[in-house]
Amino acid sequence: MNDRILNLLKDSFVQILLPGLEMTVPLTVISFSLGLVIALVTALVQVANVKGLKELARFYVWIFRGTPMLVQLYVVFYGLPKVGLILEAFPAAVVVFSLNTGAYASETIRAAILSVPVGQMEAGYCSGMTYMQTMRRIILPQAMRTAFPPLSNSLIGLVKDTSLASNITVTEMFLTAQRIASRTYEPFWMYLEVGFIYLIFCTALTYLQRWLEKKLERK
């Protein structure tokens, strides 16, 4: 490794990190938050056995778990305009990522709800509470503790998956690295570097997860 490469790595680090903070992070945070809301609703209508909505939820999960995210991105960004629905690149990515997260996380949350012993619901009933009251105050808080580690996994996965958005012209970290690589003819060092930056992001999240898990345990 000579000085030229060292300088190049130094310069590009900031050039890649910046779109990371401006694009990758917001894309992840927005998509994951929306995804969690979708997941919660999707899980609840299934657990509560809401006729009609339950089937719809199964159908939605089936579609989004059964097709590649890359295909979904292409359909939404390049395909939908042909039927009159035009989305900018960023919102298109948010739509796909949140629906995707929603589908996977709904299964995590559903399983976590089902893992709470039935006796907890019965005790809620016998304390005079309704199904929804018990669900909200007793079952969900316990389920969320169970769901926390796998949901953290999904979040970390999503950070990396946002690199797919480069395919629909979202200038996030990977697309930026690609551009620098083709400009400088240093694909080896540039792709290693962008990989390293993803690693930093994910490592930070791992530590955050551990810290939060400890806090949750203390109760």
Binding site: Q120, E122, Y125, C126, S127, T130, Q133, Q142, R145, K219
Partner: protein, 254 residues
């Protein structure tokens, strides 16, 4: 005060309750005995609507309901007039002992926090668990958890408290503290319906004993009579069996 009439319940085609009727007066302490699988737990669960009876009528707290058809609101209203103590305690795992007691008062009965806390204090005092009010269930022994569960069950000022084998999941050395709490409730005039295997409690604290077998009430009477001079052959068999199990113990042998 509580009248249950001709409850039928089948599980997968198997008849568990075949027309059980029950009359409870205010202040009654009734123990329900019977071999396992006799339907005694199912009876309590039907009364509290944790199971839906296939048919049957119930009169409680001034209302008459069809036990099969009762609507959500009716069920909710009836449940708020009774307390239920589970075999496996079922304390809310994410709440402290105190919150376990106040939860139903605040959420279901819309009481303000201060009033709920006052009631919880007196209930937890009554079961000797006030000192442990800030402990989470997993930090408490089985006996302590069950005492908190009893405090939770009586917090809503119920007209009857249903106990579903409240000591069956406990280590033997912890049974005593729970029975003691139950005895003191009985002394204070609480109306109680207790499914149990604790013959001592049945003999000493109850004013009526019911033996259920095969989904029927086989015999009912005052404990003095039931334990000393059972009228039916089935009751004699049941008591003999128990007597043999707890040698020199609490059964009907002596």
């Amino acid at each position: 005060m509580l009248d249950v009439e001709k409850v039928h319940k089948k599980f997968d085609g198997q008849e568990v309750l075949s027309g059980v009727s029950l009359h409870v007066d205010k202040g009654d302490v009734i123990t329900i005995l019977g071999p396992s699988g006799s339907g005694k737990t199912t009876l309590l669960r039907c009364i509290s609507f944790l199971e839906r009876a296939d048919s049957g009528r119930m009169e409680f707290a001034g209302t008459q309901v069809d036990m099969h058809r009762a609507g959500k609101k009716q069920v909710l209203a009836l449940r708020r007039r009774m307390g239920f103590v589970f075999q496996s305690y079922n304390l809310f795992a994410n709440k402290t002992a105190l919150k376990n007691v106040t939860e139903g008062l605040i959420v279901a009965r819309h009481m303000d926090k201060k009033a709920a806390a006052e009631i919880a204090e007196s209930c937890l005092q009554r079961v000797g668990m006030w000192e442990k009010r800030n402990s989470y269930p997993h930090q408490l022994s089985g006996g302590q958890q069950q005492r908190v569960a009893i405090a939770r069950a009586i917090a809503g000022d119920p007209e009857v408290v249903l106990f579903d084998e409240p000591t069956s999941a406990l280590d033997p050395e912890l049974v005593g503290e729970v029975l003691q709490v139950m005895r003191s409730l009985a002394r204070d005039g609480m109306t109680m319906l207790v499914v149990t295997h604790e013959m001592r409690f049945a003999r000493q604290a109850a004013n009526k004993v019911i033996l259920i077998d095969g989904g029927h009430i086989v015999e009912e009477g005052r404990p003095q009579e039931f334990f000393v001079r059972p009228r039916t052959e089935r009751a004699r068999q049941f008591l003999d069996l128990l007597g043999r199990e707890n040698e020199g113990g609490t059964g009907a042998a002596q």
